[in-house]
């Protein structure tokens, strides 16, 4: 009958759920059931409007029930439309009908709306040099490009195939003038080795690491971090993450700022990694660091996203049915000397 299905006994999505139930219920307490039901239900997307496109489909987005969200007080970020009203949710396929303008540029990039926060939190100023250590497929890099403020942008991702995807994304959204060699460099090296390439040089570093990507792990059995064959890889994530963050810290110039981000709720991949990297930087490299508060950013967006209360290090967007974005963890640190 309909119910005598022959599902694999332990699909990765199921294993992920068991794992999260065990760890997150302890961590989030009463909040966990709310987060759990949101993670297991349809997520929302945001459309990052492309300022370089000459025919933005603003009207279409609004017709689909998206409410615009002002991203930057200074107006550098005119608009990003975010699906807000529960009635007005829009499905992938509807969004994908976007047409290129006469220059071949697409009008918006679809991403988890909370994913723009790390790019915003980085607070890039004019004449900054910026490194995005794990940049593919490029959503956050694109958000950075939209500000047009960085003097030089260096995008890296160790995966060659994902790096070519990143290049395709950039060419679909940004005009050629912004992608010239003097403004942009794209590399494909192991980010943990960055210190051997360039030290003490970037004003801003984004370290958006590979993680258990909680939403994906719960919903898709393909390419799932919780599949049996990837147990080792999953267990070694915090170490890899700490190494990447440390590499990012070393790549930053004194006075420069590093933003660490993940899309997991897992404390050992979030604050655990930050604590570890800060410690390693001090002990092994004599680098002193200071945590930079992201409270102002949280206050600005607290009506749009649900932030976890009382995190003692960094900020976290937690999924909620009424604002089904995230999870996104962010922590910002400044290099003192």
């Amino acid at each position: 009958g309909k119910w005598a299905t022959t599902l694999p006994k332990h699909p990765p999505t199921r294993l992920a759920l068991q794992h999260f139930d065990a760890t997150y219920s302890a961590q989030l307490g009463d909040l966990w059931p709310s987060v759990r039901v949101a993670l297991l239900s349809e997520r929302k997307y945001g459309a990052l409007l492309n300022n370089f496109c000459h025919s933005p489909d603003l009207e279409e987005l609004q017709a689909q029930g998206s409410a615009p969200l002002r991203l930057h007080q200074a107006g550098l970020w005119p608009l990003a439309a975010v699906n807000k009203a529960p009635q007005g949710e829009t499905i992938w396929s509807e969004f994908w009908s976007i047409m290129p303008d006469k220059f071949g540029l697409l009008s918006y990039y679809l991403m988890d709306a909370a994913s723009v926060l790390p790019s915003l939190a980085l607070d890039v100023q004019a004449n900054h040099t910026v490194l995005d250590l794990c940049a593919a497929p490029g959503g956050k890099a694109l958000a950075l490009l939209q500000t047009q403020s960085a003097r030089f942008l260096c995008l890296n991702d160790s995966s060659v195939s994902r790096t070519s995807r990143l290049k395709r994304v950039l060419h679909s959204y940004a005009p050629k003038e912004l992608l010239t060699d003097d403004k942009l460099r794209i590399t494909s090296v192991d980010g943990t080795m960055w210190g051997e390439i360039e030290r003490n040089s970037f004003d801003r570093v984004l370290v958006d690491v590979p993680c258990t990507t909680d939403r994906h792990s719960l919903m898709e059995d393909d390419n799932n971090m919780f599949s049996r064959s990837r147990v080792g890889e999953r267990r070694s994530l915090p170490r890899l993450q700490a190494e990447l963050l440390l590499a990012g810290i070393i790549a930053a110039c004194p006075g420069g700022e590093v933003l660490y981000s993940t899309c997991t709720l897992c404390p050992s991949q979030n604050l655990g990694v930050v604590e570890r990297a800060v410690q390693l930087a001090e002990e092994n490299h004599g680098i002193r660091l200071q945590v930079v508060s992201l409270r102002p950013l949280v206050r600005m967006f607290q009506n749009t996203f649900h932030f976890a209360p009382d995190l003692h290090l960094g900020e976290m967007v937690v999924p909620h049915l009424a604002a089904n974005f995230g999870p996104i963890y962010m922590c910002k640190i400044r290099r003192l000397a």
């Binding site: 309909k2 059931p33 709310s34 759990r36 039901v37 239900s41 349809e42 529960p86």
Partner: protein, 271 residues
């Protein structure tokens, strides 16, 4: 008690009904014990039926209902709820009532069931038999349980058997509920959408688990009764420990998930 020519409303309704049913007169109705206003309402109900000879069995139907032991007030209300009963032949009505008795609806519950859900007497014996057989054989309810289902949720006799099977299997396998509990909670009174929405909400919140082969769960599931037989607010706040906003969004999301699911299944079957 007869309506006079000056009583406009009664005369209009009686005239129109008289055309429908030559045998039915206010006089005969008052003989049966209906008050004037009840008689008028009866005419109105019967005249809602379409077709010239639609209500040709009205008198025999009323008689059968009186014989069943119902009083004029109940009978009038019942006909108002279900005027179609006046289209059913006396012999058929008798057979259907007999059949319900045979299924274990004793005096008292039989009458209550008929008053509460008169439509049950419009359903042919054969259809009722099919549903009963389905409940016994496919769902393995005992005879006694089937009687209780008919008594408490008589509308099952008109439900689509595929839908009924889906509901039963969902609650049995996904929720791990045994027949006795389903009967006790009057499961068949609830729509599939209600059952599924409340259950999936709890499940995704981590508050309900499908029991394993040994019937075990790592958490204590709330009782079916406390999930179904409470109003929405109590369900949201006490059982799901959620906010009304969350459940509101969830219902909408789930409705869409189902629509997509149906589309997918539809296309698979079409292949």
């Amino acid at each position: 008690l007869l309506c006079s020519a000056s009583d406009q409303t009664a005369s209009v309704s009686s005239q129109s009904s008289l055309r429908l049913s030559p045998v039915l007169s206010l006089h005969s109705l008052s003989d049966m014990g209906f008050t004037e206003s009840q008689a008028g309402q009866l005419f109105d109900s019967v005249s809602r039926l379409k077709g010239a000879s639609a209500a040709k069995h009205v008198l025999s139907t009323l008689t059968v209902l009186f014989v069943l032991g119902l009083n004029p007030t109940s009978v009038q209300k019942l006909i108002d709820k279900c005027p179609e009963l006046c289209m059913v032949k006396e012999t058929q009505l008798q057979q259907r009532i007999q059949h319900l008795r045979k299924l274990g609806l004793v005096e008292g519950s039989l009458q209550r069931t008929v008053v509460h859900y008169p439509k049950i007497l419009t359903v042919p014996v054969k259809s009722v038999k099919n549903v009963v057989q389905f409940l016994r054989e496919k769902c393995q309810f005992t005879t006694q349980q089937v009687t209780e289902i008919l008594r408490d949720s008589p509308a099952v006799v008109l439900e689509d058997l595929d839908q009924l099977e889906y509901k039963f299997q969902y609650v049995y396998f996904r929720m791990g509920i045994k027949q006795a509990e389903m009967v006790k909670c009057r499961l068949f009174r609830f729509t599939m959408e209600d059952v599924r929405c409340r259950h999936v909400f709890l499940e995704r919140r981590g508050l309900y688990q499908t029991p394993d082969k040994k019937g075990q769960t790592t958490i204590i599931n709330p009782k079916l009764d406390s999930i179904l037989n409470v109003d929405q607010h109590t369900f949201i706040v006490d059982v799901a420990q959620a906010s009304a906003e969350e459940y509101d969004v969830f219902q909408k999301l789930l409705a869409r998930e189902w629509k997509e699911e149906e589309l997918e299944h539809g296309s698979i079957e079409a292949d």
